[in-house]
């Protein structure tokens, strides 16, 4: 096969990320696991450290100057994070991660009701898809089991795509109360038509939840334009720290919801037997929130905004197209998911005949390349694909075509180790 020319990509920012100065046995770090977590730019690390050094106090309680600085930093971070995806700060809740955001909804909305009618009960259905991460499956299994409701799935076809016709058919049954789905599949990379789905779900009188963990760090996302009732994403995949996730919601739905966790900060008043809830978004943030993490995430979205998300997407699209093309040079390698790079986020899951994915990842590491192997917390999807596991390479803003070359070299060398 003729060698594929390296593409010109629109970003050159590896130097902004201190971890790439590290050497492993003298080798550079080739990081192709951003789908699991992203590396952090110096501006995020510095913002976290500066907050802890200079502005640390608890929020929403103190009257002294330092506490006011902490308040300003936390509330400022919320405004930045909300603005980054076109959401309102009032309906932007900080959680621990996407898992907690989905659980919040499954409890606070799923176990709740409006005007004496339970949101989910016997005869009702929750609709999710075969693409989902366990975080967007198990909370709904628990809810449906508890409430006597049905959990149904939209199917994924052999190209890794969902069908709007099947969604229409499911909604036409009249029993669907909530539809939850990923914006970008963490296994197949499929970009799901979220705006079209949310419009149909709204028209059917159901609630929509989009899991944007694999989308927000990689492409322009406007939750208002998407029209989702709820949209969740996580900080650590978006160049920010671990321990902070985000749930954007629609105010009318959130106002009707009871709190998820209860305790300090989420109340307006408490007497011995009862309490009244604080206003949005504080009603859903019990206890001392992840203050430094919010500041770090605020710095991360500011950094991403500076790069411009259209350019981030163009950069990662060029890398993904190059990766799909070059992976084709490895004999016995099969990529799962949409064949066209434009239909994908920045990742490729694959298998190599004769080498188990865990061994593929181990052999890639021999070449200094970090990729993931396993079921990617999506066991039902793996069953649909008829594989136990895959290896997955995923890109971020800091990757460059040479990283893809290193992966392909490592895979070819790995085949030789296995005598293939």
């Amino acid at each position: 096969m003729p060698p594929v020319a390296s593409p010109t990509t629109s970003l050159d920012v590896k130097a902004d990320f201190p971890i790439f100065a590290r050497r492993f046995d003298g080798r550079e770090l080739i990081y192709l696991d951003s789908g699991a977590t992203s590396q952090k730019p110096a501006v995020v690390i510095d913002a976290l450290a500066e907050h802890l050094r200079e502005h640390n106090a608890n929020v929403h309680r103190g009257v002294y100057a330092l506490a006011q600085e902490a308040d300003a930093a936390y509330d400022g971070a919320r405004r930045r994070v909300a603005a980054f995806v076109g959401a309102s700060p009032r309906t932007t809740v900080f959680t621990k991660n996407v898992t907690e955001a989905i659980n919040l909804l499954a409890y606070a909305w799923g176990r709740g009701g409006v005007a004496g009618r339970a949101n989910v009960g016997p005869g009702d259905a929750i609709l999710i898809t075969q693409l989902e991460h366990h975080a967007n499956i198990v909370p709904w299994q628990m809810l449906c089991r508890e409430r006597g409701a049905q959990l149904r799935y939209l199917e994924v076809d052999e190209r890794g795509e969902l069908s709007l016709e099947q969604l229409d058919a499911e909604l036409a049954r009249g029993d669907v109360r909530l539809v939850a789905f990923a914006h970008v599949s963490n296994v197949l990379g499929t970009i799901v038509p979220v705006a079209a789905m949310c419009a149909r779900i709204r028209a059917a009188g159901a609630v929509s939840l989009v899991d944007g963990a694999q989308a927000v760090p990689h492409m322009p996302v406007d939750v208002e334009a998407i029209g989702a009732d709820f949209y969740a994403w996580t900080g650590h995949k978006a160049l920010g720290p671990t321990g902070i996730g985000v749930l954007h919601g629609r105010a009318e739905v959130m106002e009707e919801m009871q709190p998820f966790m209860t305790g300090g900060d989420m109340i307006s008043s408490v007497d011995f037997q009862s309490a009244e809830w604080n206003e949005l978004p504080y009603k859903f943030e019990a206890g001392t929130p992840p203050i430094a993490e919010a500041v770090g995430l605020g710095a991360a979205v500011e950094y991403l905004s500076g790069l411009e998300m259209e350019r981030v997407r163009a950069h990662e699209l060029a890398l993904t197209a190059y990766m799909l093309e070059r992976l084709g040079e490895v004999p016995g390698l099969r990529v799962v998911g949409p064949p066209q790079a434009e239909r994908r986020g920045g990742l490729a899951s694959f298998t190599i005949e004769g080498i188990h994915p865990h061994d593929v990842a181990e052999l890639a590491d021999r070449g200094g390349v970090c990729i993931r192997a396993g079921h990617h917390c999506a066991q039902p999807l793996m069953r649909c694909l008829g594989v136990g596991a895959t290896a997955r390479a995923s890109v971020g803003v800091y990757n460059e075509p040479a990283d893809v070359d290193a992966l392909v070299d490592a895979l070819l060398a790995g085949r030789a180790v296995f005598g293939l």
Partner: protein
């Protein structure tokens, strides 16, 4: 020569010994490694308090398949009481390669399954 993927490891991976089903069997167990989704089951026949025959089945990485294949040679003929005493060090030593912390469960899955079948204790071997 690769430290981990030695020739005999790859040979056992590609052509594992004592793999398949055993019908009828006296003991059986089935386990999966939750980290990677790998699955391994075992069928065992018992005679005079010893493992008379044993067959593994399932799918997994080179380390887990080779470990099961290599262990099977030692396990056949072993007294059941002795099987209950086998620990992680026994398996790692038998395997004869440096196993990193992340691949340890791959190497120990077969022993977990066999001990589960023989003793009912399906904890990870310590």
């Amino acid at each position: 020569m690769d430290d981990l993927y030695r020739d005999y490891i790859l040979e056992h991976y590609k052509r594992p010994h004592n793999f398949g089903e055993l019908e009828p069997h006296d003991l059986e167990s089935h386990e999966h490694n939750p980290l990677c989704g790998d699955e391994l089951g075992v069928h065992i026949t018992v005679k005079d308090g010893r493992i008379e025959d044993l067959k593994f089945h399932g799918h997994g990485c080179a380390i887990s398949q080779a470990s099961a294949s290599i262990a099977s040679e030692e396990l056949i003929g072993m007294e059941l009481d002795e099987v209950g005493e086998l620990d992680a060090d026994w398996m790692i030593e038998l395997l004869g390669i440096p196993v990193s912390a992340t691949r340890r469960k791959c190497a120990l899955l077969n022993l977990k399954v066999v001990r589960g079948a023989v003793t009912g204790d399906n904890a990870w071997p310590a």
